[in-house]
């Protein structure tokens, strides 16, 4: 088997394209009582879970896309569809110019997949043996293998781990090695399903910078799911938010902030201690000479508010901040939950 041929690609600039993709799963309803059990034996109850409802998504080559959403939104289903492990019920899935489920062999030779809770490593073998395994099974040419092995070992600091068995690695170490393994054949598309699950800050930071480096140097397209929004924001330029199998947001993080949480917090310290009245801002709290306001950044400019305060007394200090991305997403999820339950 020849290694991945980068010339053998789709003529378009699109790495991943989903058009009207639907996927649903049958779920049996289990009996909780003996009476229900008797009934369910005769008439089994099933419900259909709509995992994906007409997803349209395009990812350009070389793009890093964060794929986020609450539990059960359809993230992992999408990753499995893109990994050729699942077939769509309806719609079209094209990746690297191929249909993943029909062209499995050619396709998986050109992608890398990492599932955060799974490992491709041989448990009782040193890491180097798993690397050799990958070389043979993926038929990676010797020079390319050595170059990539040296690169990933260097960037992820794996040299001290090469002689260690997988079972002796910490979670962070194992994840780094799994990621390196997924990149040994220089995949054009990297699919990461919660790659940083359970990792400490340092391990996470290392992996993020490694992915950015790979993307910058090799133009690897990356689609990554995670619940850690700060991590996604650091890594990706674009975020696709899923909600109940539909794309609820597709854009950059700044737009997500603006779309969901336009309000900003202003803390102002006055010399005389009284809270100034600011048009366009809502007074929230006061503590001594410090006063907190909330305002809509799109409606009123920060400089206007400071000028208003300055006109009513001497301003000693001003502090403002945007909501962090976790707050934004929490707000978004709460809204969605409210939509579902019918509560505001």
């Amino acid at each position: 088997m020849a290694g991945p041929d980068r010339l053998d690609t789709s003529p378009t600039d699109i790495a991943v394209e989903l058009r009207g993709v639907h996927k649903r799963f049958m779920q049996r309803q289990r009996a909780g009582t003996l009476r229900e059990l008797a009934g369910s034996l005769l008439h089994p109850k099933v419900t259909w879970i709509e995992a994906l409802r007409g997803i349209d998504l395009s990812v350009r080559r070389g793009e890093i896309v964060a794929y986020a959403g609450p539990n059960g939104a359809g993230k992992s289903t999408t990753i499995k569809l893109l990994s050729s492990l699942l077939v769509a019920d309806a719609g079209e899935v094209r990746c690297l110019g191929m249909d993943p489920s029909r062209d499995r062999l050619r396709y998986v030779a050109r992608i890398g997949v990492v599932f955060g809770q799974r490992t491709e490593l041989y448990w009782d073998h040193p890491v180097s043996a798993s690397f050799e395994w990958k070389k043979v099974v993926w038929d990676i040419p010797g020079d390319r293998y050595l170059r990539m092995r040296d690169t990933v070992c260097d960037l992820l600091d794996l040299a001290p781990l090469m002689g260690t068995t997988a079972r002796e690695l910490s979670l962070g170490q194992r994840m780094r090695v799994d990621l390196a393994l997924a990149l040994l054949h220089e995949p054009e598309l990297l699919l990461l399903d919660e790659p940083s699950l359970g990792l400490d800050v340092l391990a996470r930071r290392r992996i993020l910078s490694f992915l950015q480096e790979q993307n910058a140097q090799l133009g690897t397209t990356v689609l990554v799911t995670s619940h850690d929004m700060a991590e996604l924001e650091q890594l990706a330029g674009r975020i696709v938010m899923l909600h109940q199998g539909e794309i609820a947001f597709d854009g950059d993080f700044a737009a997500l902030r603006g779309d969901v949480m336009r309000h900003r917090v202003l803390r102002i310290e006055m010399e005389d201690g009284s809270a100034p009245v600011l048009r366009g801002a809502e007074h929230r709290a006061s503590e001594g000479m410090r006063h907190e306001y909330v305002f809509d950044g799109a409606e009123v400019a920060l400089t206007d508010l400071v000028a208003q305060a300055d006109a009513q007394g001497r301003v000693v200090d001003v502090e403002t901040h945007r909501p962090n991305i976790d707050d934004v997403v929490a707000e978004l999820y709460e809204r969605w939950q409210g939509d579902v339950t019918g509560q505001p």
Binding site: M1, S84, L85, S101, D103, L105, Q117, R118, Y122, V136
Partner: protein, 286 residues
């Protein structure tokens, strides 16, 4: 899910790929067993004891009554040795749960196989190759078989290897046909191959002569344990003089492999629609 036959490759290229993969897994097997001498010794000892204990009851019966049901003691020993070699070859060629495919399917580990850029049949043929860790029972079988050979027991060696391969194919086909149930019931059928293998282990070493015709037909078809050792041993030892008997096990093995392949592919299509609803890590990597 498309059932991949692999891109159009010549027989030569496929053979080279197979040999490279077998060499890879053989190397890994050597590394694994070579980690510590004590581990290797205990591994072989346990394998030897397990292998011989499965056939010991038949062995003792044959010793006590100087044969069983028309089979001489030497012929029974040949049957036992043959059955042990078959079982050992299954361990050698399809170890690490490749023969217990229901575990891989039921635990969601088939995904690991499907993410490799190789045809699934090639992965099945090579991934479980463990010539050292799986060889304990082959050695035990070889010793038992060698002890049976003599002037009174002279098998037809021309058909020996062919029947041996066919018997291994029967065990794997039986395993995959029933193991495919795990595609539709991953949790309930995860261990079904433990049962199918246990059935093979318990019945493979008995001469089936004297059983009723329907029972023999059942044991040569739906539950084909008669093809694991009894029918090929009969053919190889010349207990049945018909010229077709040395070909019977290979022919039936082809039929069973075809049926098992069809069932497995149906299951694979189902898997493509539903995916795996559970994942357990243990057992998929040595």
């Amino acid at each position: 899910m498309a059932v991949d036959a692999g891109p159009g490759r010549g027989v030569g290229r496929v053979s080279i790929d197979l040999c490279r993969l077998w060499a890879l897994y053989a190397r890994m097997d050597v590394l694994w067993i070579g980690r510590a001498g004590s581990t290797a010794f205990m591994w072989y000892l346990a394998d030897f004891i397990v292998g011989t204990s499965v056939v010991i009851s038949t062995w003792l019966l044959a010793e006590r009554f100087d044969g069983i049901g028309g089979w001489s003691k030497g012929q029974v020993f040949f049957l036992l040795g043959y059955s042990l070699i078959v079982r050992g070859l299954v361990e050698c060629l399809f170890g690490w749960n490749v023969s217990h495919i229901s575990r891989r399917i039921g635990r969601g580990q088939l995904d690991h196989m499907l993410l490799q850029p190789r045809p699934l049949w090639m992965i099945v043929l090579t991934e479980g190759f463990s010539p050292l860790t799986g060889s304990g029972m082959v050695v035990a079988g070889g010793i038992v078989l060698a002890s049976a050979i003599g002037p009174a027991v002279s098998p037809n060696w021309a058909f020996f290897a062919l029947n041996l391969v066919a018997s291994v194919a029967v065990v794997i086909a039986f395993s995959y046909a029933w193991g495919s149930l795990a595609f539709v019931a991953p949790r309930a059928a995860e261990e079904i191959n433990s049962s199918t293998m246990a059935m093979v282990d318990q019945l493979r070493g008995f001469p089936l002569d004297g059983l009723s015709a329907p029972l023999i037909v059942t044991l040569l078809s739906v539950l084909p344990v008669g093809l694991v050792a009894w029918l090929p041993s009969r053919a190889l030892l010349g207990l049945d003089q018909s010229p077709i008997t040395p070909w019977l096990t290979p022919l039936l093995a082809c039929v069973l492999a075809g049926i098992a392949g069809w069932i497995f592919n149906r299951g694979l299509h189902h898997y493509g629609r539903t995916g795996s609803t559970r994942y357990l890590a243990h057992g998929h990597r040595r």
